[in-house]
């Protein structure tokens, strides 16, 4: 079962726009290494879950994996061979809005090699180009 909110105010949402780059959640905040998106996408709960499973199977019980995005946007889709009209369709999946720069996953408590391999496995499951980034310096 994929990720979705427990409760929402409204069942459906308008599509909205995703212009520009991420200005929040664009740096490694909790872990040592992170996976950063380089493109804009609606990341579905199922895709996030696939990434999580890919990483956790590789990490087994080592380290800690942080998921930095949550699918809180309902995306509706009309069934096939349906005529237009008759109102907005039912919710098909839940998505997280991802802009270039958004940190998708973070890993803590493992070495750079292991983190790199785990994040590469997640990146393989992602529908966008990603890159590995480290922590910022303390000032």
């Amino acid at each position: 079962m994929s990720l979705m909110p427990k409760r929402v105010k409204y069942r459906k949402q308008q599509r909205g726009k995703m212009k520009g780059n991420a200005t929040r959640g664009n740096y490694v905040a909790y872990g040592d290494y992170g996976l950063q998106a380089l493109e804009t996408v609606w990341l579905s709960g199922r895709q996030i879950e696939a990434g999580r499973i890919a990483a956790q199977h590789f990490l087994r019980r080592a380290g800690k994996l942080y998921i930095r995005v949550f699918p809180d946007k309902p995306i509706s889709k009309k069934p096939l061979e349906t005529r237009m009209g008759t109102g907005k369709a039912d919710v098909d999946f839940w998505a997280a809005r991802v802009k270039p720069g958004t940190m998708l996953f973070e890993i803590a408590g493992v070495g750079e090699d292991v983190a790199k391999q785990a994040l590469a496995r997640i990146a393989y499951k992602m529908p966008v180009r990603c890159r590995l980034v480290g922590r910022r310096v303390a000032v």
């Binding site: 079962m1 480290g134 303390a138 000032v139």
Partner: protein
């Protein structure tokens, strides 16, 4: 503080603004501003490689040579670019070595705690940098935490051995390192997610009530 304070050459900037800053970055320099001690802020540019390398090695204090004069400065803030990792601007503040300041110091973890050798135990570092208060001359490059000395499953800020003349400002009860025993997390999460197939809609009842009221009016 680092035994050798790095000396960095700076050039005053007479033209400020986005366009000129962009040109500076393309030429391998970094725009910066120096302020503090009741004097006018000065816009300068620094060699990008030397300042970033110094900061990455834990340097907080630098000796800045602007024109003929020399100033001791503390790296106050770094501004990052749109991808959140490339430094685009540096804020420097004038300090004297006897002044007390608050800075964030990176933590370095060495050794392995006994508790983490248990099956299923995962070591988590909750804090990667610690806010400390000390004199400018006492600012450490980093704080080493020997986890092999750790007693129990949690090491708090109070248990961290601080260098001489350095006081931790962060809450002393705050956990720095924890050993967490992981139980079958994947199964637990799966069970939690299957419980709710569809989210609860908070406005659903109100809509039904409104429809009912409309029907009654008819």
């Amino acid at each position: 503080m680092a035994k050798n304070v790095p000396v960095i050459e700076a050039e005053p900037r007479d033209r400020i603004g986005t366009r000129y800053s962009k040109r500076l970055r393309q030429a391998g320099r970094l725009p910066a501003v120096i302020y503090g001690h009741g004097t006018q802020p000065t816009s300068v540019s620094l060699d990008a490689k030397s300042i970033i390398s110094a900061v990455k090695h834990g340097t907080h204090v630098i000796e800045l040579r602007v024109g003929g004069s020399s100033e001791t400065c503390l790296v106050k803030e770094l501004q990052y670019g749109w991808m959140g990792d490339d430094v685009i601007h540096v804020d420097l503040t004038r300090v004297n070595l006897e002044e007390t300041v608050r800075v964030s110091v990176a933590l370095t973890f060495i050794g392995q705690p006994e508790a983490s050798k248990r099956p299923g135990a995962v070591l988590t570092h909750d804090v990667q940098q610690l806010e400390v208060e000390c004199k400018v001359r006492d600012i450490p490059e980093g704080i080493r935490i020997d986890m092999s000395q750790m007693e129990g499953d949690v090491m708090t800020v109070a248990q961290v051995k601080m260098p001489a003349g350095v006081i931790a400002v962060t809450d002393p009860h705050y956990a720095v390192v924890r050993v967490v025993t992981v139980t079958e997390e994947a199964e637990g999460e799966a069970a939690a997610t299957t419980a709710a197939a569809e989210p609860e809609v908070l406005t659903a009842k109100k809509e039904a009530g409104a429809e009912g009221a409309a029907a009654e009016k008819k």
